[in-house]
Subunit: 132 residues, 2 copies
């Protein structure tokens, strides 16, 4: 096992646009008009098109798969609370931080949070990973 | 609010291929070689390339966004346990079932499960939705 410590963290920022949302809608099959139809979304309680929550959440997977811990990780679980909508053009910063490390096995728990460019939390949750 | 009942469910089946995984890797930035590099993955404990867990999990979002309940849904939360790998060419069936309905608010809890073509559970968890 590599060396880890509580508080170890990584972050990444990303701006989602209509092309990202169209690609994810096609890939996943989630063609809900709140994501794809400007007129429909404008009349909805959200007031505009929003990015799929699962697409934004994929930033956590990206951090785990490429930065902390990167190669050799095994994703065991993830919880997600979708706290606020992500609109097209929002710049989202995803951050993961090691908050618990088992002593008997190489398994870590990470706090996960996505904030928007105003600092509002849009998604949070926890992930459990088998660590290399 | 539409009418709902405990046990109400929906399902969808999908086979993931290398093109889906390449698209998701590019979209999310999760370029971990367990997904993209056949030689690396072949030497890993998984023995072959695997599909991103978050891509497979997006089938739950697809069911909620397009079938049950469909338009007007608001995704509040999702838990995911990644129980077994999904390999390229596996046919995954995602199923969601309403297991709890609040009496004071239009909020439902759904059991979520993905199984592969052999019937093995590859992902399970729960989702909480605001219902239209």
């Amino acid at each position: 096992m590599q060396s880890y410590h509580i508080g170890q963290n990584a972050e990444i920022s990303r701006t989602f646009d209509d092309s990202d949302v169209a690609t994810f809608a096609e890939l996943s099959g989630d063609t809900n008009p709140i994501h794809l139809d400007a007129a429909y979304a404008g009349e909805s309680p959200f007031g505009a098109q929003i990015v799929h929550g699962m697409l934004v959440s994929s930033l956590f997977s990206t951090l785990f798969g490429t930065q902390l811990p990167g190669e050799g990780v095994v994703y065991l679980g993830q919880t997600l609370q979708f706290r606020a909508p992500v609109y097209f053009g929002d710049t989202i910063t995803a951050r993961v931080e090691l908050i618990k490390l088992r002593e008997d096995k190489p398994i870590g728990t990470f706090a996960c949070r996505c904030t928007n460019q105003s600092g509002a939390i849009v998604i949070d949750g926890e992930a459990v990973l088998k660590l290399p």
